[in-house]
């Protein structure tokens, strides 16, 4: 096996490794840009760029199914959802003073340093004999060819061998959809709500924020929302 790996080394080295280095560098640039940016529109679009870049990177690392999902879900649907939520919420994020960011910076640097300390023990990139690539994953491949007889091992493992897992995940998606519908409603009811915590009645006029907010809707919009 190691002889084989040595034989394919030059072909592997040039395109895959260069693409890998470039894509990861681009991801870091985009992530830092997200940190610096204040416009929420820009942040959401950069998040889409980040997802698309990582999808391209997944293709270079042979994870075609993952790349497909990331491109459709991460760059497509989640960007649309974030934009529509941003439309309902805010356009700008207020800047946080530097002295209030120092604690977060310290935590992040310490945690990062601790993880970097452990990097040396990780298997080398592309190692055929690493623990992760030795046992159950390779077994799934052999068993799929024998038992399920479909070429795409990812589909076979997803739907058949790990069918319980996928069933649980479908239920998670179902409950997430249910949760969003409970929170927002399919047809929208903006501006009209009431909550009854501990017997108190709180609505949009008696909420903590009611006095701070100026209603800049027109009369007819208000009437429309009130229906």
């Amino acid at each position: 096996m190691s002889l084989l790996a040595a034989a394919v080394e030059p072909a592997f080295l040039v395109p895959t490794l260069l693409l890998d280095i470039c894509f990861l560098a681009l991801l870091v640039v985009v992530a830092f840009a997200i940190v610096r940016m204040r416009s929420l529109f820009g942040i959401v679009m950069l998040q889409g760029v980040y997802s698309l870049l990582s999808a391209a990177w997944f293709v270079t690392l042979d994870a075609v199914d993952v790349a497909f999902t990331e491109a459709a879900v991460g760059a497509g649907v989640s960007t649309v959802l974030m934009l529509s939520a941003m439309l309902l919420a805010d356009r700008q994020s207020t800047p946080v003073p530097m002295r209030r960011q120092l604690g977060a910076l310290a935590v992040v640097v310490l945690a990062g340093a601790a993880m970097l300390y452990a990097v040396g023990d990780m298997p080398a990139f592309g190692d055929v004999n690493s623990p992760a690539n030795s046992y159950v994953g390779m077994d799934f491949m052999a068993k799929t060819a024998e038992e399920v007889k479909i070429p795409n091992v990812v589909t076979a493992v997803l739907a058949s061998y790990r069918g319980y897992d996928t069933f649980g995940e479908v239920v998670v998606i179902f409950s997430a959809g249910l949760g969003v519908l409970l929170l927002l409603g399919l047809n929208g009811n903006s501006g009209n709500w009431v909550a009854r915590p501990n017997g108190q009645v709180i609505n949009d006029r008696t909420a903590p924020s009611a006095g701070l907010y100026q209603d800049n809707r027109s009369e007819e919009q208000r009437a429309e929302a009130g229906q």
């Binding site: 075609v64 199914d65 790349a67 497909f68 999902t69 459709a72 879900v73 497509g76 649907v77 649309v80 959802l81 529509s84 939520a85 439309l87 309902l88 805010d90 356009r91 038992e147 399920v148 007889k149 479909i150 070429p151 795409n152 990812v154 589909t155 076979a156 997803l158 739907a159 058949s160 069918g163 319980y164 996928t166 069933f167 479908v170 239920v171 998606i173 179902f174 997430a176 959809g177 249910l178 969003v180 519908l181 929170l183 927002l184 409603g185 399919l186 047809n187 929208g188 903006s190 501006g191 800049n216 809707r217 919009q221 429309e224 929302a225």
Partner: protein, 158 residues
């Protein structure tokens, strides 16, 4: 909400989004068709229920973005979503129950046909169909939920 410039364009018979409308009318059926390809070719190439569901939802979302939420709700009614969300989960779980009754374990597809590998094929097909229905319905439901809310900030805040 009404934009005087756009109203003027409408009156003069000039739709500023005509290119967008024509191109999306051409693209939306193709996107839906591609979703079906991804769904049923998932055994042989990259793809499957999750990807196909999201792509199918994306075609409805594109329709809603270009032609308005009202038109999208007429084409894909919210009532359908409520049934679809549950139907997919039931289809997935129901496959497991069927394998129970045929003498296998929960979600052991080998008992679905005389040949074990054919049974696996049928089982995967049924399960992926369930995933497709749930994912499509939930994604469209989430989009409708966000899209139907009225933004409180006015257009001048942009």
């Amino acid at each position: 909400m009404s934009d005087p410039d756009r109203d003027l364009e409408r009156m003069l018979g000039r739709d500023p989004h005509v290119v967008l409308r024509v191109i999306s009318k051409f693209l939306i059926p193709l996107i839906a068709l591609f979703a079906l390809y991804v769904q049923f070719h998932g055994d042989y190439g990259p793809g499957g229920g999750f990807q196909a569901g999201v792509i199918l939802a994306a075609s409805v979302i594109l329709y809603a973005l270009v032609f308005g939420l009202k038109a999208a709700k007429a084409a894909f009614p919210p009532r359908l979503i409520r049934y679809g969300m549950t139907l997919g989960v039931l289809l997935y779980g129901g496959t497991g129950v069927v394998t129970w009754f045929l003498g296998g374990e929960f979600l052991n597809y080998s008992v679905l046909a005389h040949d074990a590998s054919h049974g696996q094929h049928y089982g995967i097909l049924a399960v992926e169909l369930g995933v497709l229905v749930t994912v499509t319905s939930v994604m469209i439901a989430i989009f409708y939920a966000f899209g139907s809310r009225q933004p409180e900030t006015s257009n001048e805040d942009w």
